[in-house]
């Protein structure tokens, strides 16, 4: 090479000029890049269609959820049951429940009683009420009767069950020869008085299931309760000195009191709760004795149940929509299953309590950190749940009370795609309302739980 090649001034000049060099970019380069990267370009109108579809789908989902919730609420409000929170099953539950009236009592008995009541008893003076109900079967009279009652809900349940027991009392009075007189200590005068009270009550209930209840709560029905409670208390006292008869077990199903009610100490209280014995256990106090006039109702010793609650399982689908910035609103549906093992402390067999709920969660959350598909967030949430299925042993239980709760969350979500992800959400929960069946939530209104689910983002 020549010495001239050692002169690099011209090369430095090229380098200097090349630093600011630009070249025209061929048309379509950006579109090709955007297509490859899968990003939306401004002029690509088709790319905007997808979000609109998602928005429409999200709006439809929200409308559907709100409509469903509204239906639930309205249906609940217009239901004759009103605040009716539990029903006594009509089928017998030998192990713990007691309504053997169905197999023990043919329907004709009810019809006979109703006919007799209507024909022999003077009509009560009642305000005009629209004929909401036809004559309901007597064993269903409790349906819709507590709506305007001012008494405590637990009392309502017990009173209803007492009334159910009363059906048995009346039936036994109608057919006394079917029972062993040695073990059947009904006083005929008491029975007649009870029957008269009941007929008045039943007659009113068959005219209308709503308003008469209110008046009878303070008058006839209360008198009946007094009679009934006294009679059974005296029966227990008398039977404590009497050997249980072989047929007394037939009456077990008549005593379902206290089955539904519960308290925080896992104790079920009820005036006849001690009668809730498994069929394998000899009944101890089934007899009725004459009521002592003027005596007040007494309360039977409580039967305690030991609950072993299993971990509730919740499955849900949450719809999330960005409100502004990193603040998101969410609404969804979830399903919760709770089960418990219940053991009476009087030696009865352990049985299952199962509750299944459909819930509507709604709330907000703030995404405070994101890395690729992973997002972490904190948020607050309200949840309203409705029991769709509940059982206590073999007994199906109807619970119409909505359960409300609030939750504070801090969780993480991983998106497989732009719109679909899974989330894990530790929650601090407070259950505002309780259920008539004793559950983990009743015992621990404040609890910490872990929820996992599928998330669809729009």
């Amino acid at each position: 090479m020549s010495n001239n090649m050692n002169n690099n001034d011209w090369l430095d000049a090229i380098k200097q000029k090349a630093q600011d060099a630009t070249r025209e970019v061929p048309e379509g380069t950006w579109e090709a890049i955007a297509k490859s990267v899968g990003k939306q370009t401004a002029p690509a109108r088709q790319a905007r269609i997808t979000p609109r579809l998602w928005r429409a789908a999200a709006a439809a989902a929200v409308v559907a959820i709100v409509a469903t919730t509204g239906f639930f609420l309205l249906n609940n409000r217009h239901d004759g049951a009103g605040q009716h929170i539990a029903s006594v099953p009509e089928e017998s539950i030998p192990s713990v429940n007691q309504d053997t009236s169905a197999p023990q009592q043919p329907d004709i008995v009810d019809e006979t009683m109703l006919a007799q009541d209507n024909s022999t008893q003077p009509q009560q003076s009642q305000p005009y009420l629209p004929p909401v109900y036809d004559k309901a079967p007597r064993h269903n009279y409790k349906e819709g009767n507590t709506r305007q009652s001012t008494v405590d809900e637990t009392d309502i349940i017990n009173n209803e069950l007492l009334a159910a027991n009363f059906n048995e009392i009346i039936d036994l009075a109608d057919y006394p020869n079917e029972f062993d007189p040695e073990n059947y200590y009904y006083d005929i005068e008491t029975m007649l008085a009870l029957e008269e009270l009941y007929s008045q009550y039943d007659n009113a209930m068959n005219q209308d299931a709503m308003e008469p209840w209110k008046s009878y709560t303070d008058s006839t029905y209360q008198q009946y309760l007094v009679y009934d409670a006294n009679a059974r208390r005296l029966a227990r006292e008398k039977m404590s000195l009497t050997k249980p008869g072989k047929k007394t077990s037939m009456l077990l199903a008549a005593y379902g009191n206290g089955l539904i009610s519960s308290d925080r100490n896992n104790t079920v209280n009820g005036s006849s709760a001690q009668m809730l014995l498994p069929s394998a256990t000899p009944p101890q106090g089934m007899m009725m004795a004459p009521a002592a006039p003027g005596m007040s109702p007494s309360v039977a010793p409580p039967v305690n149940y030991d609950y072993h609650h299993h971990m509730p399982l919740t499955f849900g689908l949450t719809f999330t929509k960005r409100i502004v910035g990193n603040l998101y609103g969410n609404v969804g549906l979830n399903f919760t299953s709770m089960s418990s093992d219940v053991t009476p402390d009087n030696g009865g067999d352990t049985f299952k309590q199962n509750i299944k709920l459909i819930g509507l969660p709604f709330g907000v959350r703030w995404n405070f950190w994101r890395y690729r598909g992973l997002t972490t967030f904190v948020g607050g949430e309200g949840l309203v749940e409705r029991v769709v299925d509940a059982s206590f042993g073999k007994d199906d239980v109807t619970i119409k009370r909505l359960q409300w709760s609030v939750h504070a969350t801090a969780g993480a979500q991983y998106n497989f795609t732009k719109h679909l992800g899974i989330y894990i959400e530790p929650k601090l929960s407070h259950y505002i309302t309780t259920m008539p069946l004793n559950t983990l939530r009743n015992e621990h209104p404040f609890n910490f739980n872990l929820q996992m689910g599928l998330s669809v983002d729009f």
Partner: protein
Amino acid sequence: MMSERDISRGCKRGNAKAQRALFDRYSPMLMAKIFSYVGNDDDAKDVLQDTFIKAYTMIDSFAWAGDGSLQAWLTRIAVNTSLNFLRSRKRLSTFNVDTADLDDPPPDIVEEPTAAEINRLDISTILDLVAELPDGYRTVFNLYCLDGYSHKEIAEQLGINEKSSSSQLARAKVLLAQKIRKYINEHNIDNYYEQQYE
């Protein structure tokens, strides 16, 4: 107008506007850079696309270190993508650089252009002349003279030894000087400027 830092942040979040801003701001510069390596516009367009696709997908690995760092990062991607492109087209290989070009007779030595003459040329003209160099010569010339790589770095990058890199560069300089001189003579650049200043 988005700053370089805002663009990098936006791209990391997958923001479409930031991605578009990145392309709008740097694509002409990168197009020129890539053209100087691959030698034609069609291939340069393909490499440019690959460069931005890599940039968008690898943006999380970029760490902002002051103004110019994003441009430098993009330039490195563009150069590497260009070299990969040349390799994939078998236009750049070890044997090609080491033996084939070196077996050619050395170009005739001509008078080198001066810095003043270079400054009278348009950069696009210079790049067009660089593009006419054989792939091996052009690559070494670009890496050494325009992008500041050392012969050791070039040797590692291309898989050749340092002497080969040095020889390639010397031949590239002579060839390019010939081409520039020829262009100046054909277009009467000196006379043009002399006429302008008379």
